[in-house]
């Protein structure tokens, strides 16, 4: 079995946004030369998420609204203090909690060199504390065709 891992950087533009990373993931899969196996898409951050959903503006708006409803911007969060190990104020508790709701990774089957996905499924990198330069990894495990 072959294992190929690619790190991908993206520059996000907003505090919160869903970014379709399907092309980037497929390009990494193609570069891996692995045809059959599994693909893990994993964010390297604790204030972002990886998810799959339908790429419609209203669905994207509803996802953001849900996250903000479930985790309001203001609240009695304990993560609201100076973090000496960073040299910065750690005041982004809502970003961490929204990330916890979305999850850090999706796994997708790979067959015949193609991701096995439903017609309406889109892979999203979700920024929850931007704008920032972010990284995620595409890890392809399997056998060459």
């Amino acid at each position: 079995m072959k294992s190929v891992l690619e790190r991908i950087a993206i520059q996000t533009q907003h505090d919160t946004e869903l970014i379709n990373v399907g092309k980037l993931v497929r390009s990494a899969v193609e570069s891996s030369a692995i045809a059959d196996g599994v693909v893990y898409v994993t964010t390297l951050h604790t204030t972002t998420g990886i998810t799959v959903n339908e790429e419609l503006p209203d669905v994207e708006d509803d996802i953001v609204a849900m996250l903000r409803r479930l985790v309001p911007d203001a609240g009695p969060y304990r993560h609201a203090r100076f973090l000496a190990s960073d040299g910065q104020m750690a005041v982004n508790a809502p970003s961490h909690l929204r990330s916890a709701l979305l999850g850090m990774q999706v796994a997708l089957p790979l067959a015949g060199g193609e991701l096995v996905m439903g017609q309406r499924q889109t892979i999203y990198f979700v920024e929850l504390d931007g704008p920032l330069n972010r990284e995620f990894v595409v890890h392809v495990l399997g056998n060459a065709g």
Partner: protein, 286 residues
Amino acid sequence: MIDFHVHPVQVAELTDLDPELEHAVRDVFGLYVKPQPIATLLGQMEEAGIDQAVILPLDCSTEHKCTVISNEQVAWLCERYEQLVGFASVDPRDPSASERLEHAVRQQGLRGLKLDPALQRFDLDSREHAFPVYERAAELQIPVLIHCGMSFAPRGRSSAAHPLALEEVAAELPGLRIVIAHFGWPWVTEALMLALKFPNVSLDTSVLYSGTPADSIRHVMSDLIGLEVIDRSLSNQVVFGSNYPRVDPKRMVAGIRSLDLPAALERNIFHENAARLLAGPGGGAR
């Protein structure tokens, strides 16, 4: 909207060109997160609704043998990004400090002076070191932003940054436009006293110690000072400053907005007061 207090210490384009800078940022300034492309700073500004940001160098040549961003690096960024307004920094303990300041303003196009007595380790009321620099800044008609109060920098000494030491300066140099950073926290009352007494003293909002920015701003501006005092007496003497990257500008803006200030006062804090400081009289070489 103008952010009067931004440290461009996380800009990867600068650390890529100057490997020494990473040491200064980590060991002197005390920021331990990875550099980010300039696009992040510009994006953070845009997300917060900030049109212009004052970016600050710090010359610590005598005490720490380094600069935490140099005047040249600030000028380099300002040449490339019109959203950025550059201030200079000189080390008051350097005998050529006044000449270096004049060069930075006249030749490099920088539009103000940043001093940090906690990190630069000079006495704010030193006749030998500080006054010649203040006098030159007054002659050049540029504003001076001075760190006052707690220093998060590991090598900073907050005791050197008590705002009361500026009383003699403000009294003796009424033409020198002084901005006390961080409301001078924890010496807010003393900073407030100076601003009330001297029209040439302003305060910036970049107060951070614990809780969210909204918590800190509310405690200082509403509970300690009183919003009615700011509205009645200091409406022309408070400027918005975020202290990025110690904290996100978007959250500092939200913190000010959460006070629900009168519209005219909020506009003064977010824009007018800083614009006046930067523009005149003779607010810079360009």
